[in-house]
Amino acid sequence: MALDSETHVRSRVPFLDERSAVEKLRSRIRLTPMTVFWTLITFILVIPILLFLSVAFSPRLMSQGHQWFTLASFKPVFSGAYGLALLHSLILGVVAAVGAMTIALSMAWLVLRTNTPARILWNTTIFALFLAPSYLIALGWQRLFEQRGVLEIMGFYVEPIRNLLYGPVGICLVLMVKGIPFAYLVIANAMRGLGEEFEQAVRVHGGSRFEAFKVMASLLMPSLFSAMAIVFAEAISDFGVASTLSSVGHFSVATYQLYQGINSIPVNFPVSAATSLTLLSLVILAILAQNRALRGRSFRTLSGRTRPATQTKLSLFGKFTTSTYIVLLLVITLGIPVFGAISASMLQGLGSLLSHYTINFSNYSRVFHSRFLRNPLIYSTEMSLITATLAVGLAAIASKVLTSARNSRAKRFVDFFLLAAVALPGIVFAIGYIFTYNLKFINDLGLHIYGTSFLLALAYTANALPSTSRSLVGNMGQIQESMMDAARVHGSGAAKAWVDVTMPLIARPLLIAWLLTFSGTLLELPVSELLYPPGSPPVAVGIELSLAGFDYGGGTAIEVLSILWALVVVAVAFFLFNRFAPPGWKRLGNLR
């Protein structure tokens, strides 16, 4: 038979008995995608995280003190300013998670299951929200409502709103806005895989529309809890709001407290590590609560038998009400910060004490003509392309490990480290990298990568991997394992089966994950600030430098152009997908 030549033709038992331990070991450590995956996970996630966190218990290990083991670093974390900041972060995280999940669920239903006219605006909005880091959203609001800001220049009295903005309400609002797209994508992807048969089963058994909605919500429960866990983790580890509204409004949060610790002289790394560990614990508690609520249930609803859902036809009143809701949401989440950024970018003299202001495009012109303003955008684009590709590849493997039916050690390990990394603020992550890749033994190994683009790309990837993996878990969990088994027994190796079966089934979520990572990296702030190679500032650092130099116009112009550029990439990617992807790839998740 032809196939025999391709396969291992093995004689019976005597040959097998000669298989040595060395051969078995060699066969186990051969270069496979999983070997590459575990090696990368070890070097970009495990080692930097563990080394930095170990400082909390053992300052001497990293030459940060004299004791080999102490818990003294934790004392300041739970008292005084650190304790208060931690409490603030916890409350803000819970409120943002519940709020973002609720809004995202309603939007997923409106967009995917109804014919409300305003739904066409939502996908663009979601991507724009993803593109805009929290510090840019906060800066947009700030430019509008600050003293001698855009609205005051226009003659509006905005002091009461400013007081709200520079406090818990404003911070929570921005964190919730930033959480909505994360929650939406997780919930919407799960909803796409949820065929109409479940709703129909409720209706034909006497259930009302509301009853059917409740059943749908139950089936979506894994994704709802995942969404809340992601938003909570993102909120308590957010640095963008901490560096803007929190610092200006003097409402401390844990990450800002951490930042202050790192910037104090001498740097108190052990306390920073202890604070990071505490933040980690908060996230782990959230995940434990999630697991307890789910009690190990997983709802595998996507299979070859899934039928696409039909659309609910809304009445005229329904269309009006839902469209008003969507438009209102757009104005609050995106409209105001965008207006703040665009108006600020077009105002000449903002940030100065001038009494006369002009509106023109000269700030944009400066961006195009100055290499100091332009080059960061080019550099960040290159880094984002590399990072997005690497992170999505790794995230796909990680999510596969996380959704495997068996509760293996590998699964628990990946789960723990990805969650740990979600909770770690980017700035702490960057410090972990500085630590690790300046260590003597790393240099002795010939790894002189500190201060290079290579290290920056690794840090970006490690930073993006946890949330990217989490966003794919819901979809990966919906794929019946028998479909991969079928590909394997019908002649495809693991990699080919993955490319032929799994990838097309999650093509859209993969594309979305890639675009999110790309755009997230394009405007990333904390890792960029600490790890960028000398002379090559990424775009976020370019914006910060401009704003620090009171060039509000130039800074906001780069900000606007960067977001526009990311939107262009998103639009082109979706155009290419819709134009060239095979029909079967596009069918999944579409309405009938």
Binding site: T7, G304, D485, V489, G491, K496, V501, G584, W585
Partner: protein, 377 residues
Amino acid sequence: MKKKANENAYRVEIKGASKHYGALKALNNFDLTIEPGTFTVLLGPSGSGKSTLIRSIAGIERLDSGSIAFGDRVVADNGFHMAPEKRDLAMVFQDYALWPHMTAFENVAYALKRRNLDATESSRRVNEALERVGLAVKGPNYPFQLSGGEQQRVALARAIVGRPSLLLFDEPLSNLDADLRERLRVEIATLTREIGATACYITHDQSEAFALADQIGVLRAGELQQIAAPEEIYRQPANRFVAAFTGISGSFLGTVIESHKHEVIVQLGAQRLECRTPGKLKVGDSVEVLVRPSATSLSHHHSNSLPAIVLDVAYRGRGYEHVVECEFGVISSVFANESVARGSRVEIYIDPHNCLAFPSEKRAADVVAIPELSHSK
């Protein structure tokens, strides 16, 4: 139809196969041989290890210990595990496992990729396979555009299109309605025999097993209870479990009062019943008498019959099946050409050849007589 084995059909030999899931023993030192070109059905209840076994043969599961060989080719042994794609087999899954992003044509064509055929030949074979399962015009349809039966037919076409050396069936009919199940069963039987592949089919449905198999293996708790031709399994079950799982219409507890090699007479209350036994029983042994459906009939025989009352009657086209209640329990599937009204008193003849006695730990005296019938006496 007399089958003709494909010259490439595998001889499957499983030796000492064991597989644990935590504390659960899915397979326990399991031995099985399947001759080339034969159709073997593995029959067992949930948790008997049949899915684990077929998935281990496919290479989807790894054995903890033991070996599997296809002819001279070892595919699993002592930690060695050959990947599924290298085993040259095909499989039909319980949930069909069709790929939703591919059309029916593409699903079937996928299984031909390993044959490296040119596009024309590949297309011809796919169309032929689809035509063979009655879906020639459904090639461009996606799985969600097909009914359950059509989806499983596509899965069947995908399995046979590459003319594999081994065909595995993982309860392929369990998600279908009765009529479809019967029609597809016939298609599976004929198509498998046409291509002459060795076939291994798992099910918990004994009627499916008897209809399809050249040999049936009955599994329980990861162990093979008996493997034999369907007729032998039915007539000479190795133990009570095999007999019970391969179809009975009722059972009674009694005591042996006469024993002649494989024939015994069992005392049931005031009645005596002649039965067969696969083992050795002696006078005084407590036994459980298992009655095959084919053993019963409404009759006026004077010997080997029990008085009963008709509880229910169902029209089955060629006649009527009755459920009756006698002093010692309920007997179902009692066939008669004419219906007998519910509540009627009847005599049930029990054919000694299809009435099997097995040793029982329970004693007849422990069983409380059915009050209603006692009263009616």
